[in-house]
Symmetry: D3
Subunit: 160 residues, 6 copies
Amino acid sequence: MSEDELTHLAASGEANMVDVGDKAETVRTAVAGATVTMKPETLRIILAGDAKKGDVIGTARIAGIMAAKRTHELIPLCHPLMLTKVAVEIEPDQSLPGLRIRALARLTGRTGVEMEALTAASVTALTIYDMAKAVDKGMRIGDVTLIEKTGGKSGDWRTE
Amino acid sequence: MSEDELTHLAASGEANMVDVGDKAETVRTAVAGATVTMKPETLRIILAGDAKKGDVIGTARIAGIMAAKRTHELIPLCHPLMLTKVAVEIEPDQSLPGLRIRALARLTGRTGVEMEALTAASVTALTIYDMAKAVDKGMRIGDVTLIEKTGGKSGDWRTE
Amino acid sequence: MSEDELTHLAASGEANMVDVGDKAETVRTAVAGATVTMKPETLRIILAGDAKKGDVIGTARIAGIMAAKRTHELIPLCHPLMLTKVAVEIEPDQSLPGLRIRALARLTGRTGVEMEALTAASVTALTIYDMAKAVDKGMRIGDVTLIEKTGGKSGDWRTE
Amino acid sequence: MSEDELTHLAASGEANMVDVGDKAETVRTAVAGATVTMKPETLRIILAGDAKKGDVIGTARIAGIMAAKRTHELIPLCHPLMLTKVAVEIEPDQSLPGLRIRALARLTGRTGVEMEALTAASVTALTIYDMAKAVDKGMRIGDVTLIEKTGGKSGDWRTE
Amino acid sequence: MSEDELTHLAASGEANMVDVGDKAETVRTAVAGATVTMKPETLRIILAGDAKKGDVIGTARIAGIMAAKRTHELIPLCHPLMLTKVAVEIEPDQSLPGLRIRALARLTGRTGVEMEALTAASVTALTIYDMAKAVDKGMRIGDVTLIEKTGGKSGDWRTE
Amino acid sequence: MSEDELTHLAASGEANMVDVGDKAETVRTAVAGATVTMKPETLRIILAGDAKKGDVIGTARIAGIMAAKRTHELIPLCHPLMLTKVAVEIEPDQSLPGLRIRALARLTGRTGVEMEALTAASVTALTIYDMAKAVDKGMRIGDVTLIEKTGGKSGDWRTE
């Protein structure tokens, strides 16, 4: 591991959008996760009633999918990409207590989609916060991590 | 605390962008935090050398500020706002080890700016991840929380 | 009614974003409608099952709300506005057969919100088309109209 | 025709951005139409004088072309696409009376461009409404339909 | 003139979106200019024929107006603003030879609109370049300057 | 050189987004330049102190890179592109006095990237203006030109 590997920084230390033109077009997938920890009562409210669950969780999932498509507008050195698939899952986890998010991004292209998956997971979590903050301002978004990536020259990677 | 307080949900359970037209125009401030936990070596690389530090941290701060202005495009039920101030601070914290982020948003307006501060903190953290992921894919974004808010009818709030 | 009333056109005929700086800040509301006419079987599929109904109709409603906030990016001479409320309703109408959309936009400001309501209704309809086009490419979006507006110097207006 | 064909809905009924990574890259074209029905006097004003006609119709055409490029930001489950061509035509039709719009989108890619053509047609119509609403708030946007599509696995399709 | 006046830089030298919350809401106007210098033949082509002139110049003017509304998305430390008026004028100037652009932005608000006027002028010029580059890649955009500003605490300013 | 070469104009003179679907996918590069001329004292302030230099110049470079990715949203008839590389350099030039900008855009695709390089250079310059306008409103952006392009059917081109 050397400083040269900070590929966004040129030799002179300037931020840089790296050239991916020479990379091969392959199928690349990334899965990211996040959690939203909340009071048990907040989780109960979110889950109570079909319509309401549908709306908090359904709205957050749509927000995450839409955000993945805008990753290159938010993250300065990300390349614009033609994502072929984005999916977001949200499951209750009583042990937090709260909601557990998994976001998947896929592409046939020249650069990885880690940031797209992480952005989808983050905005899904932020939307859950927004929709429930009237009852619980102390919610905590955590564990925003890359879970796995496949494809590309650097090969597959999985969190330990 | 009742389900009625989930103000984004109408009586029928449908997601809704609540009417803030009757709220008073007051000065409203929100401060949010986030952390990026990484390997000690990754933190050393980010901090090594003025130019490089300037670029990772400076780029992430700009990304966070710009993202705050786009919160209403990302979070479905957020109102468009005329933010009067956004500031992002990033400090190293050897105890993580990693970087600690604080984002402030301020407004003279009719609705709070919690989501703007949280979005700024999240996108700052995502940008740090993007710029250092070549050396450390296992970085973890956490503790994305509201630290305090002031102004508005519901009054001041501070995390415990 | 004279050609001078085409307020977006200057005396010389050039397109223009009219000056609303002298208008009073008042509460302004607009309600727009739209329909999506489809095969009876398509409507049955959309309405069948809670989860599925939730998703087609819920997703379309979110899309419409989000689009209202971006009206000034889409319509060249619309002013950027701080909407205080956006709401979208979608109801089945067996007489079409299909779905009937109503979108409301509200603002305390210097210019009307007709275009925001019409944009919300249109994008809601387009999203319904997108989500059901695999079964029915012949769906027809129609009756995209302003239903009523209130507030502002020109006073209230209602479709006949 | 079965519910499985609602491809945006997963088995569990959740909204989903479908995977198009396995589809072949082919030339795909879609043509959509729309009408704006108005008072005869409104049509006369729009058509009167070269400069003015140029501006209402020219501005609306530009707005439609630009909107096609943003379809994936507006329609939640649309893929980002690299459109190779967008064209919009606007013709007067005294039988409405009003304006008749046709929008074409083309792509060499993995997914169809129906939504891009429909979005272009819709935003063209909305812009006409915006520019003439000072004289005629009762204008009606209708007949927003797919006229034909070519290319892709599902083959060609034409409205009957 | 002191370094403290670089108001976007905090005491510590970090880029910052300055707080304008304490500024008064006043009418603020800015006018910016730009030129596009080209071959005489290129200017002749642009001006030849009503329809063609309408399209190059009309399209560029629309692009400039729309860009003014997005200034805060492009310029990192600009505040989001509710512009009340944007106007762009484009005149031929045989002495360049080429086109001379003037863009005006106006606001009732807490911060100046210089950047909105300059962004409108720049994007108008870029659009002219785009539409005529097939015949003249050597066109030169120049003299992008603030011509005057009025309103605000710092008072009026005019280029010498 | 004939009027037919104004490829954005159809035979009838209407603005048009030209069809690039038949062009070959090749590596295409464009380099654009711009200058910001200012008072000697303004240049001294921008360059004084590592942190400050980092921030004005670093922020402007990030803004330029991000703007390149949004060119197709700003310039009405530009195609959406998947840029593989964007780089921006900013150097002091005492002979102006001021700052000299060079922006590079690269793509493996079907259409040139001149507008992306020019947009990056322009927005970089506008951001410098924004960050230093508190001390020098008379700064002048000039010499926004294409310096060279390579790739594509029309072959290489260099400014004389």
